[in-house]
Amino acid sequence: MYKKISRLQKLMILTILLFCIPSILFALSADEIIGEMDRLSTFETTYSTGSIQTTDRFGTKTSQFKSWSQGEKDSLIEFTSKAERGQKILRTEGSLYLFYPDAEQLIRMQGAALRQSMLGSDISYEDMTEEKNTLDNYTAKLEREETFKGNACFVLTLTAKSRSVAYPVQKIWVDKQSFLVWKAEYSTAQGRLLKVMEVLETFKSGERVLPKQSKIEDKMKKNSATLMTIDSFEANPHLDRSIFTLENLTW
C-alpha cells in the first residue's frame, strides 16, 4: 500500500527540517523586536551635531543644533543657528523645558502646548518627549515581513495602551538585521494618518546602524516636510550629569 521512501528522499526531508528548525526556534516575537530596536537606539550617553531643514509653503529654512543625551530619558538640544542662537530644549523624566536667552523664566511645555511645532518644523515637542521604552506604552503586533527600499523588514503595528502618548497607532518597518526603523506611519485610533517618518541615509556607530538623515512629514500640514540630519555623532562620551539639570539650563 505505502510506497517506501528512498534514502535520498529521507535525506532531503531531514535537510529541510534542519534548515527550518532554527528559524522556527529563533523567530523573534513582536515584543522582542521592539525590545531590540529600543536597546540598539539607546546609548549611555551621546553627543551629536546636526541640522533641521524645514520646507513649507513659505520656503526652506535650516536650523543647526548640538545635542546631548543620556540613557532613555534625558536629552538637551542647543540651537546654534543665528535666528535661534542660545535657545535650548531640555527633556528630562518626561518633562520638557524651553530656555530662551531673553526670557527670565524657563518655559515648561505641557498639555496641548506639547503639540506645537518645534521651530515651525514637522516635529512637535511631543515627538521630543517620546521615550525609548516603547513596550511600556504600546502593544506590539508583528504584521508581516516586507522588503523596504531593498532592506528586509519586520512590519509591526503598535497600539497605544493609554491616551498619554502622542500617537495612538504606529506602523513601523524595522530592519531585520540592524533593527533600525526605516519607516514609521503615525495615525489616530481611527486610522487617520498624522505623520510619516522615513530614514533616507544611515551611518554606523560601532556595530549599530543609526539614521543620518530622516524625512518627517506632518500630514496635517500642506506641502511641508522636515529633513533632520546628523552631521557628527559620538557614542558614550563622558558627560557631566549636571548638563541635564534645570540649573544648568539657565546658566
Partner: protein, 411 residues
C-alpha cells in the same frame, strides 16, 4: 364738502377719545422704539468706526501684498519696510498721521500658568494721533522705547492677578517661523474701550517687539489717518501705486471700510432695520385698523345717511383715511419726541454693556452712547405717518363700499 372733510375727520377723533388715544399710543410706542433703535445703531456705528480707526486699521492700512492670504499662519516674515515707506507717506498731503504696528499672538507664562494674549508692538509717540493713551491709562505709565516694558489691558491684569512691576514671559512665533520668548515688565494698566482689548491685549514698544520676533526694521502693518475730506479708497489706491512705483513693492493698501466686514454688516443691518421699522409700524397700525373698523361698524347708520344724502364712496374713504392720518400724526409726533429725548439722555449717560460684551471679540465699546439726529427723527415721524395712514386705507375702503340701503338697516 371736500374742504370740510379734514375738519369733520379731526372732530371725529374726539368722538371716542379713549379709542383714539389707544391708537395714537400704539403708533407712539412704535415711533419711540424706532427712534431709540436708530439712535443706538448710529451710536454703535460711530463708536465702531472710531474704534476701528484708532485700534485696528486706521483709515487706511498698508500690509505686505500676501499677508492677508496667509494671515491664519501668522506670517510675520511678510512684513513691510517702515523706514522706506515713511518718507513716501510724509510727502503725501492727504496723510495726516502714520504709525507702524506689529500684531502677534503669544502665550503668556506666569510660572506654571499660561494664558493666550494678543500682543501689539507700537510706536507710542506716533500712536498719539490714533489713541489717546493718557485718557485710557488707569495706572502707571506708557512703555518706553528700548525697554522690555508692556502696557496691559485692565481685565487681563485683573484676571491674572498682575500689577505694576510684575514680570511676564511671552512666547511667540517669530518671523523666521521659529519661536522666541521675552520677559517684559508691566509698567502700565489701561482701560481700553473695547472689551476684547481689555481682556487679552498687551502693548510693547515696537523696537523691542521687532527684536523679540526677529523683524529687524520691518513692521507687520502701517496705519494711516487722513486729512478731513480725503477719499479713503482713492487715497489707498494712490498710496499703493506710489509705494509700488518708488520701491517696486506691491502692498495690500486698503481703506478701513473695505477691511472691516462687521462694519459693512452693520451698515447692511441698518437697511434691514428700516424693514424691521416698517413691520413695527404695521404692527402698531393694527390698532388703528381695528379702531377704524370698529368706528365704521359703529357709524354704519351715519355712513348710510351720508351716502343717502349724496356723499360719494371716495369721500367716505377720505374721511376715515384722514381720521387715521391725524391719529398717526399725533401719535408719531409724541413717540418721536419721547424717543428723541430718551436717546439724548442715554447719549449723555451711556449704556453699559460691559457684562454683555465680556468675552466677545467685537470692536464695539463696552459703554455705548446712542446718538440723536433731527433728520432721523423727522424721517421716522414721516415714515410712521405714511405707514399708519396707509394701513387705515383697508378699513376706510370698506366704508365706501357700504350700500345706503344696507347701512340704513341699522337705523
Amino acid at each position: 364738502m371736500m374742504t370740510k372733510l379734514p375738519k369733520i375727520a379731526f372732530r371725529n377723533i374726539f368722538r371716542n377719545l379713549r379709542r383714539s388715544i389707544l391708537s395714537a399710543v400704539a403708533i407712539a410706542v412704535s415711533a419711540m422704539s424706532i427712534v431709540m433703535l436708530f439712535g443706538l445703531l448710529a451710536g454703535m456705528e460711530a463708536d465702531m468706526a472710531n474704534n476701528l480707526q484708532s485700534y485696528y486699521t486706521g483709515e487706511v492700512r498698508i500690509q505686505h501684498a500676501e499677508f492677508e492670504k496667509y494671515k491664519r499662519y501668522n506670517p510675520l516674515h511678510l512684513g513691510v519696510d517702515w523706514k522706506s515707506i515713511e518718507p513716501i507717506l510724509a510727502d503725501n498731503h492727504q496723510v495726516r498721521a502714520a504709525t507702524a504696528r506689529i500684531n502677534f499672538p503669544a502665550n503668556m507664562y506666569l510660572g506654571e500658568k499660561q494664558h493666550g494674549v494678543m500682543g501689539v508692538g507700537a510706536d507710542f509717540s506716533s500712536e498719539e494721533a490714533f489713541i489717546d493713551f493718557p485718557s485710557i491709562l488707569q495706572e502707571g505709565r506708557l512703555p518706553q522705547e528700548g525697554k522690555n516694558e508692556i502696557l496691559m489691558g485692565f481685565a487681563l491684569a485683573r484676571d491674572m492677578q498682575l500689577g505694576l512691576g510684575d514680570k511676564v514671559t511671552l512666547l511667540s512665533t517669530t518671523a523666521t517661523r521659529g519661536s522666541n520668548a521675552f520677559t517684559f515688565e508691566i509698567v502700565g494698566i489701561a482701560g481700553f474701550p473695547v472689551a476684547g482689548l481689555n481682556a487679552n491685549s498687551i502693548w510693547a514698544p515696537i523696537d523691542r517687539v521687532q527684536k523679540f520676533l526677529g523683524m529687524d526694521g520691518q513692521t507687520q502693518e502701517i496705519l494711516l489717518l487722513l486729512e478731513d475730506g480725503a477719499d479713503e479708497k482713492q487715497t489707498a489706491i494712490q498710496i499703493a501705486n506710489e509705494i509700488e512705483s518708488k520701491l517696486g513693492t506691491a502692498t495690500d493698501t486698503r481703506s478701513w471700510t473695505e477691511l472691516n466686514m462687521f462694519y459693512g454688516m452693520l451698515r447692511i443691518a441698518k437697511i434691514a432695520y428700516y424693514f424691521i421699522a416698517m413691520f413695527f409700524f404695521v404692527l402698531g397700525s393694527t390698532v388703528i385698523i381695528n379702531t377704524t373698523m370698529m368706528v365704521i361698524f359703529e357709524r354704519m347708520r351715519e355712513i348710510g345717511m351720508l351716502s343717502a344724502l349724496g356723499m360719494h364712496g371716495s369721500e367716505l374713504t377720505k374721511l376715515f383715511l384722514l381720521e387715521g392720518f391725524f391719529i398717526s400724526m399725533i401719535g408719531s409726533a409724541v413717540g418721536v419726541i419721547i424717543g428723541y429725548v430718551g436717546t439724548y439722555y442715554m447719549g449723555k449717560v451711556g449704556l453699559n454693556f460691559t457684562e454683555a460684551f465680556s468675552g466677545m471679540d467685537i470692536e464695539i465699546s463696552s459703554i455705548l452712547y446712542p446718538q440723536t439726529s433731527i433728520l432721523t427723527a423727522l424721517v421716522v415721524w414721516a415714515y410712521a405717518v405714511v405707514i399708519s395712514t396707509l394701513s387705515t386705507f383697508i378699513p376706510s375702503r370698506h366704508a365706501s363700499k357700504i350700500q345706503p340701503v344696507e347701512a340704513l338697516r341699522y337705523v
